[in-house]
Symmetry: C2
Subunit: 385 residues, 2 copies
């Protein structure tokens, strides 16, 4: 059902994952007409959204039909093929972020090339197709180094850390079979990982959030501390400026997340995402305007909301599924133990290692908050205490 | 659609108004299976909720069918007839708050009688059916006095301030025609109006929110200041204790709002509501746990969340419709002027005087916040500035 009572714009989000679910939640307050294109009625967003279109969220026909039904089209993932984006735009659908911007989020080779042109700090990198090229690059940056798929990947992976030429060869061969282009990157000796989010509207307004620390384990984001503790003020400002410069130069509309490595000398860009992002889930309980509301305001060309934090620190911990799917029973104990904790569940089937929700907790002492958030996540997963 | 992926409880809310809309919004984070029984697909909650049952939200058959489909049944209004509540409970539906509690919210004579038994402070009052009774009561409390319908009313009204016996006679006659019982109450010489909200779970846990000031004009709540500025600490504590005592004594499950008059000597009870309430909308942007999440936690017998404020003050202003229905265009200017302001729209057709949303703004200086909230509400209504 749509908001038929008033002349408000309609926003369609492609993809029915948790980002669409939480964007719907934010859209309720804005009073806009929000709908999702979801592959299944049991997708995270489809379970709660009042206006669900079922279809292939990467397929031409369903995307065109959905796009034409909306005033603005946006995305909870970056997997819509470029030719489909081109056709959507050619047919008059308002796509935000647009195809020209999305191509930088979809293709790491394109992103690195453009970032370098802009003078943005990147790890050393090179496009590679042969072992000889990888070896030559390794003479510059040393082993181990990182191989990345420019887009997609194989076996569900897109990033490989390789120790030597033999390991690189395996990746090169498998990538060639899968038709995947690769780039090699130096393995950055980072102190920690950071992220910064900025919203940009078609009008050109930007709103930048505080720089956060992201704690990754096994390639999965486990916790986010907002703002990043003890971050040098000049580095923080530089990271925020970098995000704004990238958003402007790449023509981003909506939320842009810039994942960064903090090194001894400054920050370098790891990845970009042009949508609400896991590193910004803390904003739901820790910022005046959460990233989902901000994304909607940006894609609708509404004035942006204040990104100010509402507490000295907010910590987010992702909830991963464990062996026992009965999360709800454990949930009760977590609520009883910590009445300040905010739990966000995605309605997803519990499977080991799957992101099924997150918790936020805000306050003055980030070490205390981190301990509480980790404790809740471990308990909900069912880990032995 | 329901949350079919996990064994979570289902909560059904009777009524498709803005309270159900905002309860749905809170339920998304909790990951529970939330559904509404709405009279129309264009009801405020029906526009955004993923699981809408259309039917008569006061009628026996639709309520029984809906109630039997849910683990817990709750309400966004107090208009379900008592015999239907009795039948729901007799048929095994878990009704929260239950019929025994709801009767005190539905019937002002019953509420006053019980509150007096409990020693709770009330205005002087008397059940009246004749002008002679009203005149005898007026000798005690003076003119003008207040006549109230015990339940319902006529001509869309349930409260009348009468200056003399002649005016009282008109009300008595019309009430008798409509089959409405009346009570007379003294017109309290109050300093201001206050409200306090408490949540109570079946387990017996309670969580009480700070006492707020409610600013009424023409019988409509216009603004809420949380907490009530310059309120004597003893009075504030007494008001919170009173709410807890009432919730326990009346067996409330869910949110209870107690509307109070502040007098020179203390506080007296004006009205009760057993559901999320307009006086608690500030909690959406000003408390760790908003009243809608708290209501769900309470009716599901989950541990309650912290009711702590997240800012020194939060001010809420209701948005009323004006002559020009194009609120969305004005909305943009309000957002541009005050990026800290949180707007909550209900998706309702704009009609003069109708509540179509509210704004919240949090910070340190309540006079500044009040000016900003009023300014936004006036601008959105379309009043000349």
């Amino acid at each position: 059902m749509s908001e038929r009572n008033r002349p408000v714009p309609s926003v369609g989000m492609v993809g029915g994952g948790q980002l669409a679910r939480m964007t719907h939640q934010a859209g309720i307050a804005l009073g806009v007409d929000f709908r999702v294109l979801a592959a299944s009625a049991t997708d995270s967003a489809a379970l709660v959204c009042g206006d669900v279109h079922l279809g292939d969220d990467r397929g031409r026909d369903d995307l065109l039909a959905f796009g034409k039904s909306c005033d603005v089209l946006t995305f909870d993932h970056e997997h819509v093929p470029d030719p489909v984006l081109r056709e959507l735009e050619a047919s008059g659908v308002v796509v935000r972020p647009g195809r020209d911007a999305l191509r930088y989020a979809q293709d790491k080779l394109r992103m690195r090339t453009r970032a370098e042109e802009l003078g943005a700090p990147c790890p050393r990198w090179r496009a590679v197709t042969t072992v000889a090229q990888v070896e030559a690059f390794a003479e510059e940056v040393g082993w181990p180094l990182v191989l990345k798929a420019a887009r997609g990947g194989y076996d569900g992976k897109g990033v490989w850390v390789v120790d030597d030429a033999a390991e690189a060869l395996v990746v090169l061969e498998r990538a060639a079979e899968a038709g995947v282009r690769l780039l090699a990157e130096e393995k950055v000796a980072f102190r920690r990982e950071l992220a910064v989010q900025v919203a940009r509207s078609p009008y050109g307004q930007v709103a930048v959030y505080p720089v956060v620390e992201t704690v990754q384990r096994d390639g999965i984001c486990h916790e986010v501390i907002a703002p990043a503790p003890d971050l040098d003020a000049a580095k923080a400002t530089r990271a925020q400026e970098l995000a704004i410069e990238l958003a402007q130069a790449l023509g981003v509309v909506g939320m842009l997340a810039v994942e960064l490595f903090e090194t001894a000398h400054g920050v370098v860009i790891n990845e970009l995402a042009m949508r609400p992002h896991n590193s910004g889930h803390w904003t739901m309980d820790g910022a005046r305007t959460c990233q989902f509301e901000q994304h909607l305001r940006a894609v609708l060309d509404l004035p942006l909301g204040s990104p100010s934090p509402t507490a000295p620190y907010t910590v987010m911990a992702n909830l991963l599924g464990g062996a026992d799917p009965d999360v709800y029973s454990r949930y009760i104990h977590v609520m009883a133990k910590d009445p300040e904790l905010k739990v966000h569940f995605y309605g997803k089937e519990v499977r080991p290692g799957r992101k099924i929700g997150h918790v936020n907790v805000a306050g003055g002492d980030y070490e205390d908050l981190l301990a509480r958030a980790r404790d809740a996540a471990a308990y909900l997963k069912g880990d032995p205490q």
